[in-house]
Amino acid sequence: MKFITKNLIAYALLLLVYTLIFRYTLSNVLESEKFILAMVSGVVYGVLIFITAWILGKAHTIKKFVFDAGLGFNVTTYIIWGLVSELWFILGFNSKYENIRSVHYALIIWGVFLIIHFLIYWRLRSRTIKGVLKSEIFD
């Protein structure tokens, strides 16, 4: 099964842009002690990711009949968010109210869910042929 598709690449690029804007906004509003705005930016960021993944993921599944249970999108989000966040701290762009430990905790907890997601995907894979659900091939 082709795991990396055009839609997934498009999603990764958009996510990279969203994450950079989010990190920049977050660090700036925290530095200015506008904590409500920090929460708002977090919600906007989350909603944007959800909508983008929903649209690109759905189009990807319909067009290619590929059933990957959203794993590709989950892994991509994990890698890009983790990389950008880590680099943000390493390069010293963070505000004094941000702590790198919160990024590490998020990555550990998210990583556990990612492993569970992978196990579910692995189990569901036996119900597919070339990524298409067997029950949908000749329906």
Binding site: K64, F65, I129, K130, V132, I137, F138, D139
Partner: protein
């Protein structure tokens, strides 16, 4: 009268379920007859099923894209009467083999003498 309506309702419900699973077989038979574009496949099905199986163009496109992904069918571009080129679909070797195996396992058995008699086909 009431009984007729009831029987008809049961029959059409049975037929609807039965026909749903038949589209693949009809598509494959149409393509075994030779490469066809979507409208020709639809016409073939309509003609040879004597109008009992009809299918939306969209359903055919969806099924054909899926079969293409699974390497059961392939297509080549050919000239249309007017407008853009048409996609002419045909069965791949895998497609021909699974159709043949499917017919051997599931269709030929209906030509058993006993079953022919039971279905009053003689």
């Amino acid at each position: 009268m009431k009984n007729d309506v009831y029987k008809n309702e049961l029959l059409t419900t049975w037929e609807d379920t039965y026909k749903k699973g038949q589209l693949t077989l009809w598509i494959f038979l149409a393509l075994k007859d030779g490469p066809k574009y979507v409208n020709e496949i639809r016409d073939f099905i309509l003609e040879y099923s004597e109008g009992t199986i009809s299918c939306e163009e969209q359903s055919l496109y969806r099924a054909l894209r899926k079969f293409k992904h699974l390497k059961i069918v392939e297509f080549s571009s050919g000239k249309g009467n007017k407008g853009p080129d048409r996609k002419y679909y045909e069965l791949t070797e895998i497609g021909i083999e699974i159709l043949s195996a499917f017919i051997s396992r599931n269709i030929k058995l209906f030509f058993n003498q006993k079953l022919i008699e039971l279905m009053n086909l003689k």
